[in-house]
């Protein structure tokens, strides 16, 4: 075999030595081991997930036995003194803070991605994309400190305005009333939105860039505006990937711990206002695990973890359902 037959580490074999079929061919030992390794890796991940769920469920048994499922879910009492535990305020807090993050983060991510993929001149694309990706590299504790020390005081100054303007609206005004502390559910939602933004916008940008330029060019040729191209051509073409990106962001928002603990205010009582303090399941775990002395207390905290897994799976399931329905409706319309 001459030296030129070796291209970048891969041996070019004569035709007769190559595997006959393209699919599953274990003629070479390397292929055999690669196949096994890939299968092992795939099952390992699934196995770890199931093992985790089983271990957590097992460690929550004391609490499940004491409070049951329904009672634990709907009870608002979390009292380490009387050893009565209920998860309701934390489930709501987790869902509400993540929802705020999504409402703020998804449109901004979409805007960023469209800007980079469609609008920005080349010289500005790279710096903006790099800046967005840098956001993802910042550890969450830094977001927490930034939120507490820099964002919260500034936001506190905006809160009287929110009180006056949004709080005065009948009905939804209830959501925007409270003392101007700068910390609370809304602050947590905003910090979360910033944290999930790089994940969502990077994925959206990457998939927007792979839309065939022929599609784009035909739309522009027919007189479509940039908005119409983004909304009617690019987004439908990349929908699954965009949704995947949003899920990644949502998953991070639901599970984010330290940043939320710093800025949410950590109150176990439910409030009707976004400006008031609240708590999420991860923040309660971060706060109370080290000092949980009794078996029932520890078990209840682990039970909260189990519920967080369930909440994440349910939210994901509902979102998939929603997308299917949207897809069907679109199919019917077309």
């Amino acid at each position: 075999m001459s030296e030129s037959d070796v291209v970048s580490g891969i041996e070019i074999r004569p035709m007769s030595e190559r595997p006959k079929s393209v699919g599953r061919s274990w003629h070479l030992p390397a292929d055999f081991f690669f196949h096994k390794a890939a299968v092992f890796a795939a099952f390992l991940v699934a196995g770890v997930l199931f093992a985790t769920i089983i271990a957590i469920a097992f460690d929550s048994r004391t609490s499940i036995h004491a409070f049951g499922i329904w009672k634990f879910l709907k009870s608002s009492e979390w009292n380490p003194v009387t050893q009565t535990f209920g998860a309701f305020p934390f489930i709501i807090g987790t869902l509400v803070s993540s929802a705020i993050a999504m409402v703020l983060g998804v449109p901004i991510s979409f805007g960023v991605a469209v800007f980079i993929a469609e609008i920005a001149p080349v010289w500005i694309k790279r710096p903006v994309a790099a800046a967005i990706e840098l956001l993802a590299a910042i550890p969450s504790i830094v977001y927490g400190l930034w939120g507490l020390l820099i964002f919260a005081p500034v936001f506190a100054r905006a809160e009287p305005w929110i009180n006056d303007k949004l709080g005065a609206i009948p009905g939804i005004g209830l959501l925007f009333q409270g003392p101007p502390m700068g910390i609370g559910m809304l602050t947590a939602g905003i910090v979360l939105a910033i944290m999930v933004l790089p994940y969502m916008s990077s994925i959206m940008r990457d998939v927007f860039l792979v839309v065939p330029s022929s599609l784009r060019e035909s739309a522009y040729a027919m007189g479509a505006t940039t908005w119409e191209v983004a909304w009617n051509i690019i987004l439908p073409y990349t929908r699954t990937a965009v949704i995947g990106g949003i899920f990644l962001g949502l998953g991070r928002a639901l599970g984010e711990t330290m940043a939320v603990t710093f800025v949410i205010g950590n109150s176990n009582t439910l409030s009707s206002s976004f400006l008031m303090p609240g708590a999420t399941i991860p923040s309660v775990l971060a706060n109370e695990f080290t000092e949980a002395t009794t078996k029932l207390y520890v078990s209840s905290l682990i039970y909260l973890g189990l519920i967080l897994i369930a909440v994440t799976l349910i939210v994901r399931f509902l979102a998939v359902l929603l997308i299917r329905r949207l897809g069907r409706r679109e199919g019917a319309a077309a």
Binding site: E77, W78, N79, P80, V81, T82, L148, L149, A152, P153, A156, P179, M181, G182, I183, G184, T261, F262, G265, N266, S267, N268, T269, P277, A279, S283, A286, N287, E288, T290, E291, A292, T293
Partner: protein, 339 residues
């Protein structure tokens, strides 16, 4: 993680009797509050005696759990264990040093140590019953002060903490309603307010929210220059927090008469006694190897003997002398051997 594994290995070695050699490591874990003191003592002790003390500040609850599991030589807790819990788990405990905590506030126009509060008033504020700074109850104690017409924002710890236990224990003693509705523990179900993580979390909320009030450790107040309140103690005297006030609380409870030193330093008599005083206990296992317990005893005995100036320098009050003597005879009585 690495140091934890190392600790575990060293501990395993000590269990097979290798700890008898002069160069050894002593491991402890627990209270974050006592960490600065143990760390200071440990550094000096290593220089003088060549024994390394490795203390992990993982929280009092963690300290209790670790000593029960036998993974450390001593556990530290700011909340003493009840004598019956100690004996059922085969543990003993003794106090280390006293300290205190105070309320800090952020009130425009009002200087440090100007505000005077009583225990029952603090309980009503933390219960959410007294909502405004110009409430007649507050005005009654502070006739000279121009109290603003401002909402009170209550700040408490969000994480479990011995500081919270001491604070709530005090409120339970001075307010039947507090005892009834909230009680005392390292974490409680707070009726009102916002929670900050750690002393620094509470301090930063108080600094940032006008009209807020929170409780933090005394050493932390000195460091962060927050405005702290004076309190009316059990004798009806208005006192400022001080090392002497914490030591007076310890002197008035008489540790020597209590079973397993189970006394809590809040709300005691004495004209200078600071009402929200606290203490940290060290917990040992009775059936731990004799060498290990002896090493712990030697370390703390050295601390009681030589470490008191170090304690004072970081706002920890030394224990009264008769208490130290009582600890030594307690060791002998409970463990069957002494230094």
């Amino acid at each position: 993680m690495k140091s934890l594994r190392l600790t575990a290995i060293l501990l395993a070695l000590s269990l097979v009797g290798l700890a008898a050699s002069a160069q050894s490591t002593l491991t402890g874990a627990g209270s974050t509050w006592v960490y600065p003191l143990v760390a200071k003592w440990a550094a000096a002790y290593q220089q003088n005696n060549g024994v390394e003390v490795n203390y992990q500040s993982i929280g009092s609850g963690g300290g209790i759990a670790q000593i029960k599991a036998g993974t450390v030589a001593f556990g530290a807790s700011d909340m003493p264990l009840k004598p019956e819990d100690l004996s059922s788990a085969g543990l003993i405990q003794f106090p280390t040093a006293v300290a205190g905590e105070d309320l800090v506030y952020n009130l425009p126009g009002i200087q440090p140590e100007q505000l005077v509060l009583s225990g029952s008033l603090v309980a009503d504020i933390y219960l959410g019953k007294v909502k405004k700074w110009n409430d007649p109850e507050i005005a009654k104690l502070n006739s000279g002060l121009n109290l603003p017409d401002m909402d009170i924002t209550v700040v408490h710890r969000s994480d479990g903490s011995g500081t919270t236990f001491t604070f709530c224990d005090y409120l339970s003693k001075v307010s039947p309603e507090w005892k009834d509705k909230v009680g005392a523990n390292t974490s409680v179900s707070w009726p009102a307010g916002v929670g900050g993580k750690g002393n620094e979390g509470v301090a930063s909320y108080v600094q940032r929210i006008p009209g807020s009030i929170g409780y933090v450790e005394y050493a932390y107040i000195l460091e962060s220059h927050l405005s702290d309140a004076r309190m009316i103690n059990r004798d009806g005297k208005i006192v400022s927090p001080s090392l002497k006030g914490f030591q007076d609380a310890a002197a008035h409870v008489d540790f020597t008469k209590a079973q397993d030193f189970y006394v809590i330093l809040t709300d005691h008599t004495g004209p200078d006694t600071w009402p929200i005083s606290g203490c940290t206990w060290q917990i040992l296992r009775k059936n731990a190897p004799k060498e290990m317990n002896l090493a712990v005893m030697k370390f703390f005995d050295w601390g009681f003997e030589h470490g008191q100036d170090m304690a004072r320098s970081i706002s920890f009050g030394p224990l009264p002398e008769n208490t130290v003597a009582a600890i030594k005879s307690y060791w002998k009585k409970e463990l069957g051997y002494s230094l």
